[in-house]
Amino acid sequence: MAAATATSRRSRIPGWLGWLLPVVAIAALVSLFLMFNPIGSLRELPPVEAVAVERTVLDVDEITLEVRNDGPDPVTIAQLLVNEAYSSFVISDPKLDRLESATLRVSYPWEEGLPLGIAMVTSTGVTVEHEIEVAALTPEADGSTIAVYALLGIYIGVIPVAIGLFWYPSLRRASKRWIGFFLAFTVGLLGFLLIDTVAEGFELAGRTAAALDGLSLFALGAVGAVAALAAFEQLLERRRDSRSVERTEGSPVSGLVLAYLIATGIGLHNLGEGLAVGAALAGGEIALGTFLILGFAIHNTTEGLAIVAPLGSDARRPSLWHFAALGAVAGAPTIIGAWGGGFAFAPAWAALAFGVAAGAIAQVVWQIVRGMSREHGLSSGLGALGLMAGLLFMYITGLLTA
C-alpha cells in the first residue's frame, strides 16, 4: 500500500473529505446561482406556462379537476371556460408554483354521454385545454363500485387466464415439436403484449406532467423490473441447484419456475391493463360495453396458454394449487389495477407501472427463448409458425378491444 499512502500524503486530504468535496462545490455553485441569477439576462422571455390535468371527477352538476403546474414558471389560473363559456369556479389556490398542484371545482350542468371541453385561462391569457371525451359520473369508492371494479378485473383478467390454464392436459400429451410450437406461440403473444405495453406506457408518459418526466419513470420501471426478475431468477436457481431438481431440456430454469416468471410478467401487464381500463372507464373515455369485456376476455385467455406452455415438457405434473397460484399471479393484478385506475389514477404512477410491466415481459421473453431447444426453437419451421400465430392471434383478438 505504499502507493496509496504516498497519494494520501501528497494530497493530505482525508478520504471522506475527498468524497464530500465535489458535493460541497456543487452546493456552492447552486447557492451562488440562486443568489445572483447570472443567466437572468438570457431569459427575458415571457413565462412558459403549462398546466397538466391529472384527474377529473364528475359529480352531479359538478366538475372537479386536479391540476399541476408542470412548466418552469409559476402559473395563475384566472378564469375557466366550460364548453366555451366562462364559468364560475372555486380553486384552492389560483397561483401555482412549479410542480404545485391545486383542486378546481366548477358547478356545471354537464350531460351524460356528451363531450366536455374545459379550458383554463391563465393570467397571461394562455388557455390550457382539457377534453373529456364522454362525460360520465365518476364512480365513488363505495362498496358497490369497488365490487363492480373487482368484477371487471375478474371478467377481463382472472377468468380468462384461468380458462387458458386448462390447455395444460392437452399440452402434456403434445409432442416436443408441438410444445416448441406453443412456446413460440407464447413468445409471439408476449412480444405483442410487450409492444402494446411499451406503446401505452409511452402514451401515458406523454400525459404525465412534463416536469415529472413520465418517460424516465417508464424507463426506471422497465430497467428495475428486469433487474429484479433477474435477481429473483438467480435466487430460485441457487435454491434448486442445492436440491438438484431435474431440469427442463436445455433450459436454465425448470418449467414451473418459467411458468411463474411468465405469470408474473403477464400479471404485471394485466395490472397495467386494469389501470388503463379502470381509468378510461372512470374518466369517461370508454363506455363499458359487453363487447369490450368479451374482447378482453378472449384476448386474455391466450395468456393462460402462455403460462402453461413451459410445463408441457416437464415430466411431473405440478400439484393443483400451483395452477391456482399461477392463475392468481397472472389474473388478480387486473383487479388491483382496475381499482387503482378507477379511484386514484395518476399518469405518472401509471407510466411507472407500465414500465415495470414492459421490463417484466421483456425479461420473460428472453427467459423462454433462452430455454428453447435449437431444433424446436423459433428458427424451426413450426417455431416460426408459432411465433407468427401468437402475434397474429393477439392482433386479431386485440381488434375486439380496439
Binding site: T76, A78, Q79, L80, L81, V82, E84, A85, Y86, S87, S88, F89, P94, Y108, V121, T122, S123, T124, G125, V126, T127
Partner: protein, 357 residues
C-alpha cells in the same frame, strides 16, 4: 354559470363610482379655458352630467354586488389599475380643445399618445394591449359636421402606428403607411374637416393590420349633424374581442373591452328617457357581431348618417367596422339585458344589462 334570470343585484347601482366620475369630470373641465369650456366639453357632456348628478342625489350608496351576478367570470377587474372604467367610457365624449380659426370655424384639437400597456380584459386575465392614451377603446372623438379636427398622434410605443379615420379627408392624412404613419418617438398631425355626420370609428392602419387593430388601437368618432338631434342619454358601445392566447380566435368578447362589465354592474338609465347608443363593431377574427336588446325595439339609423330611422327592430348584425346608431326608450323600471345574438359571444363576455330606474 349562474342562471340568466333572477340574478340581478337587488340594490341600486353604485353611487360611489358615479360620484367619483362626477368629481373627476368637474376637475377636468375647470382645468380648461373658459371659452373652450362653453364651446366644447360642457355642452357635449351635458346629458351625462345630469344623469350622474341624479344618480348621486338618489343616493344608492355603495351597493353590494357580491351576491351573484350575470356573467361567468370569477372576481372583479381592477379599473383603477387599467386606468379606465367601462362605465365611464360609455358616456365619455371628448370634444377636444376647442377654438375658432380666422374664418370662424370651430377647431377641435386632440393629442393621442400610443402606449403599449397590459390591460385586464377579464378578472385576472391580462392582455398586452396597444392603446391610444392608455385606454381601449381610445377616446371618443365628438364633433359637429364641418368642424375642423386637428389630431396629433404621438408615438410612444415600440411600433409604427397611424390613425385612420372613417370619413372624408385628403389622401395625405389617410392614416396609412406612407400617408400619416408615425414611427416610434415621432408624431404626426391629422388635419381635416369632420364629415359626413354619423357614427364612425378610427383605428390604426399600420401593418400587419390584424395585430394593429386587434391589440386595441381603435375608438369611436361621432360627428353630429349641424341641425342637431333630439335630446337623449347617449352612450358609446364598442363591440370588441381579445385573442388572449394569440391563436387567431378570441377568448374574450365585450362591450368596451371588459368582459361582463355591464352585466355584473348594469348600466343605469332613466325610464321614459330617450336612449341613443352608438354601436361600433371592431371585433377581429369573427366576421359578424350583433346587438339585441330585451323587451324592447329600437330605431336603427344605419351608420348614423340620416336623421330618419331606417328600420325598427330589436336585433342588428354588423360586419367589421360596421356601426349604427340606435334609439330606444324603456318605459318601465327593471333590469333588461342586452347582448350579442351571436350567442357564443354571450358566454365569453358580451352580455350586458340596463337597470331602468
Amino acid at each position: 354559470m349562474g342562471s340568466i334570470e333572477g340574478n340581478f343585484p337587488t340594490q341600486q347601482s353604485s353611487g360611489r363610482v358615479g360620484r367619483r366620475r362626477f368629481l373627476r369630470r368637474m376637475g377636468a373641465t375647470s382645468a380648461l379655458g373658459g371659452a373652450a369650456l362653453l364651446g366644447g366639453h360642457e355642452v357635449l357632456h351635458g346629458s351625462g352630467l345630469i344623469t350622474h348628478a341624479q344618480a348621486q342625489e338618489s343616493g344608492g350608496g355603495q351597493g353590494d354586488h357580491g351576491d351573484g351576478h350575470l356573467g361567468g367570470t370569477v372576481g372583479e377587474v381592477d379599473n383603477e389599475r387599467n386606468g379606465f372604467d367601462p362605465h365611464e367610457i360609455l358616456t365619455d365624449f371628448d370634444g377636444g380643445e376647442v377654438s375658432k380659426d380666422s374664418s370662424g370655424r370651430t377647431v377641435r384639437e386632440y393629442e393621442f399618445v400610443t402606449i403599449d400597456k397590459e390591460i385586464e380584459v377579464a378578472p385576472g386575465v391580462f392582455f398586452p394591449a396597444w392603446t391610444y392614451n392608455g385606454r381601449v377603446p381610445g377616446p371618443t372623438i365628438r364633433a359637429t359636421e364641418g368642424d375642423r379636427l386637428r389630431v396629433r398622434l404621438v408615438n410612444a410605443s415600440e411600433h409604427p402606428h397611424t390613425i385612420h379615420f372613417h370619413g372624408f379627408h385628403s389622401a395625405s392624412v389617410d392614416g396609412i403607411p406612407g400617408a400619416g404613419e408615425s414611427l416610434p418617438g415621432e408624431s404626426f398631425t391629422y388635419d381635416f374637416i369632420a364629415e359626413p355626420f354619423g357614427t364612425h370609428l378610427y383605428h390604426c392602419h399600420s401593418l400587419p393590420l390584424v395585430q394593429h387593430i386587434h391589440r386595441g388601437l381603435y375608438g369611436a368618432f361621432i360627428v353630429d349633424p349641424k341641425q342637431g338631434r333630439p335630446d337623449a342619454h347617449e352612450m358609446v358601445m364598442v363591440m370588441n374581442g381579445f385573442d388572449t392566447n394569440f391563436d387567431g380566435g378570441n377568448e374574450v368578447y365585450a362591450l368596451n373591452t371588459v368582459a361582463f362589465a355591464y352585466s355584473k354592474k348594469p348600466i343605469e338609465i332613466n325610464a321614459g328617457e330617450l336612449q341613443r347608443a352608438h354601436v361600433i363593431n371592431v371585433t377581429e377574427f369573427d366576421p359578424i357581431n350583433s346587438i339585441h336588446i330585451h323587451a324592447n325595439f329600437f330605431n336603427l339609423f344605419r351608420t348614423g348618417t340620416s336623421l330618419e330611422p331606417d328600420e325598427f327592430t330589436d336585433t342588428i348584425s354588423m360586419g367589421q367596422a360596421e356601426r349604427h346608431m340606435i334609439e330606444f326608450t324603456y318605459d318601465q323600471p327593471g333590469n333588461f339585458i342586452f347582448h350579442a345574438h351571436v350567442t357564443e359571444f354571450i358566454d365569453l363576455g358580451w352580455l350586458s344589462a340596463f337597470e331602468v330606474v
